[in-house]
């Protein structure tokens, strides 16, 4: 009777999107990323002023741009994290195809901005670096292939994804951009490791790498000199690394004070590759440790959450995204303290750079989408009596 009078009660299928998202998303990691972005802005206020001054802009030109790109990145992150894994996969694979083509066409239509490496498309008001967008897309596409290869009668996805990986690494090496190439290779390796690479193969590869390193060291003078220079305790104080190391030392525990830092005036890449040095000088070890802790929380939490995941695709894609994110942050900071040889790599969410910010936002959004709490069939397991 009620229905006849008032009409049927409208009923929605499933839970509304926002409450469901809020209930299932990894709120800790998300807060960490937001904090990282805020710290990035704080450091941008210090680190990008010299660059703006050199290029004849108002002092906070790059901070303003960072806020604009950062807001776009955060919106992209939130939207992506609300999608279902299937949706993420579809969009990511499409994005991958587009950025793959864009990367392949770089030698013909790209610009190098006089820096000697063809990495950018110039759009007039901003420039786009396709390799930044390629990374998350490639991780998802490769995870899809690797997961498909685990199906019975599935396609040989491992080989396909490896071939794709090699193709991308070659294209990046041509630019040349060895940092990104290493990241892509490393991301694929991590996924293959989690997908169940045979132990024998892993050990063989490790052995080969050591052997190749020894051979290169004994045969190539250039390589040997770089390694020796890296291993030697003395450091030429007029190199970028020398400045960075001295800045960290000057900073001490609590830093020399906001705006008091000197290193940003001497380092050309203070706002990108060596932003950690600026952070260490002005805010001291404390802020650097907070930065490291934030990255650790995001990466390690993601791995722990993925351990529960039963869908192979989600597990692999999440692994790859978290690994790439973590390694990029780690290498950037390790260069500043001379744990690894110099390598141009930005600090995700903290360094200045439009492409890197937005692509980072999308990548972390995907990671958050993959690490959302999902029913994993535990009850079915209990019912069947094979729960663990």
């Amino acid at each position: 009777m009620t229905e006849m009078v008032f009409g049927a009660v409208p009923e929605r299928g499933g839970e509304p999107i926002l409450p469901k998202w809020w209930r299932t998303v990894d709120k800790t990691s998300m807060s960490c990323v937001l904090l990282l972005f805020v710290i990035g802005l704080l450091l941008g206020l210090a680190a990008s002023v010299p660059l703006a001054e050199r290029n004849g802009f108002p002092p906070f030109h790059y901070v303003t741009r960072q806020v604009i790109f950062g807001s776009a990145a955060l919106v992209a992150m939130l939207l992506t994290s609300m999608m279902s894994p299937t949706m993420v996969r579809r969009l990511a694979v499409l994005g991958f195809l587009v950025s793959f083509v864009a990367l392949a066409l770089l030698p013909f239509f790209g610009t190098d901005f006089g820096k000697g490496a063809m990495r950018w498309y110039s759009l007039g008001f901003a420039s786009v670096q396709p390799s930044e967008f390629l990374k998350p897309g490639f991780v998802v596409a490769a995870a899809w292939m690797l997961a498909a290869s685990q199906q019975i009668n599935g396609p040989p996805g491992t080989i396909w994804s490896f071939a794709l990986c090699v193709a991308i690494v070659l294209m990046l090496a041509v630019q040349p951009d060895f940092g990104q190439a290493c990241l892509v290779l490393f991301g694929w390796g991590m996924m293959y490791f989690v997908a169940g690479a045979p132990m024998l193969l892993l050990m063989g590869m490790a052995g080969m790498a050591v052997l190749a390193g020894i051979l290169a060291y004994s045969n190539s003078e250039h390589f040997a000199r770089r390694i020796d220079g890296f291993l030697s305790p003395e450091l030429d104080p007029t190199t970028q690394l020398g400045y960075a190391t001295n800045a960290i030392r000057e900073g001490g525990l609590f830093g020399v004070g906001v705006g008091e830092g000197q290193v940003k005036w001497s380092l050309p890449d203070a706002h990108t590759d060596f932003i950690v040095a600026v952070a260490a000088e002005e805010y001291g070890l404390v802020l650097v440790l907070i930065l490291i802790a934030l990255y650790t929380v995001v990466v390690v939490r993601s791995f722990l959450r993925l351990m529960r995941e039963r869908d192979p695709f989600i597990r692999l894609a999440g692994t790859g995204l978290a690994a790439v994110f973590g390694v990029q942050a780690m290498i950037n900071m390790a260069v500043a303290v001379r744990l690894v040889p110099a390598k141009g790599m930005t600090l995700p969410f903290v360094s200045y750079g439009g492409s890197s910010l937005i692509a980072g936002g999308i990548a972390v959004g995907m990671l958050l989408a993959f690490t959302r709490t999902r029913p994993q069939g535990e009850i079915a397991d209990l019912l069947r009596g094979r729960g663990r």
Binding site: R54, I152, G196, I248, P268, P312, G326, M330
Partner: protein, 594 residues
Amino acid sequence: MIRTPLRPLARIISARDKGENPKAIERENIRRRHKNMQDRARARAEGRLLVLGVFFFAAFVTVGARMGMLATSEPSEPAVSFVDTAIAMQRADIVDRQGRILATNFETHSLYAQPPQMIDPIAAAEGLVEIFPDLDKGRLIRDFTGKRKFLWIKRKISPEQKQAVHDLGDPGLLFGPREMRLYPNGSLAAHVLGGASFGKEGVSAAEVIGVAGVERQFDDYLRDPANGNKPLQLSLDLTVQAAAERVLYGGMKLMNAKGATSILMDVHTGEVISVVSLPDFDPNDRPRPPTSGFDPSVSPLFNRAVQGVYELGSTFKIFAIAQALDLGLITPHTVIDTRGPLRWGRFRITDYRNYGNEMTVTNVIVKSSNIGTARIAQQIGAEQQRAFLDSLGMLDATPFEIVEAQGGKPLLPANWSELSTMTISYGHGLSTSPMHLAAGYAAIANGGHYVSPTVLKRSGPQHGPRVLSAQAAAQARNMLRLVVSEGTASFGEVPGYAVGGKTGTADKPKPRGGYYDEKVIATFASIFPAHDPKYVLVVTLDEPSENTGDKPRRTAGWTAVPVAAEMIRRVAPLLGLRPSFEPAKGAAITLASQ
């Protein structure tokens, strides 16, 4: 193990017997195998993800620990460790072609501190800040009262400053003798000399190393004690260089240009007598090099004469004409079809003005017709044009002996098509440095021999391989003379010195493709005296605009040519050239007997 595949087969057979669909059983079987496989994969992945998590955690902790170790360690003291190593002193002087000093060494002192020996660090810091206002007092006090045992305060100080510091009387403030590089002429020839800075340094000596220009190029020679302190003699002439810089600076301001360069070169020896690039700097106080994200070509450190590659416009026409004369394709009186516009695919070649339907070759140069030159270049062809420009050294960086010259690599078209051949013939599509252009003009001026530009003094002509026949070179020279006497470079006439030359006004390319309408590179490449040329002078102005008329005039004839003429007027006497005047017709000498 062997039973696993058999069991479903048995079930399928029995199902078939009962008339059930065996496909369902097969599917169920695959589903179960799949499930088992996934469970195994998941168990393995769980372990490996844990390994990864631990690995990343450990790696981040390592980075953090290392950061902590660095942050709590003392800043390094770079200088102390070098005190023992012997530092080679005595850098050789650099002199001009007459032996006048361009760069020499100068005794000076460095100032350093040993805080543990200080009596009153606060007073010392206050005293120092009074003497050196650029020092930061707070920082000095912190350094002096902290744990540091050694720090540099100033790399070089003047004798007055040394006395003032000495009068502070603090035993913790010490002086170290060292030599510094001094350029007594200030910014004169700054781009050639480059500059020097300190390399390894200790409290008792410091090593002077070249950072740019000849100081860097000949660093090993200048530092080598085996040379017995013999000075490095350059081809530059100090007086001519000073005059050229003065004139060029005035011309740059007058023509509202943002940069300018001039090269004066001996056509037989290739010696560069003067080379100026403006804006310039003082090598005694070399500015910081520009950093990334910054257009290096606006820095005063940028050497426009050798590093800057520009499309130099119509000055290139004479190369096409000279080559065609050499190949016998044309004579100076051949009539060329100059009906415009000349269409080539989607591309149109036009002239600055319409000069009529046909012209002689001489007039093509004198009036500077793009269409005429392009037609002649078509006859020459891409292969031969490329080979000729290569023989003039236009396709590689110049061999000019300063380190920056390697940066001036010409920009060649990706595909040397017939259209490229046509545009290059009038100076578009191939970007070279003004130094390349000077070397090319020298070949025409000296009768057809390539000479490589050099900054070192030479004795006698250094003719390289022949690139043009003497006759073609002479015909080209006559045309260059006519350009000045009755063509586009009429402001270039300098009484008595028979200047010849060719103007070139090239639109500047935009960094992202296309050309600016209102920004040009104006060039005048000249030779003098035209009947037997001794010198070639290239003057290039960057974005000039001559504003005395109704609307701004930007062509080289209005901008670069008058500047070059004034420069020739000033430097030709300094070079020892005598003006030769033909007696005027009306003023013939009247014999006394009549």
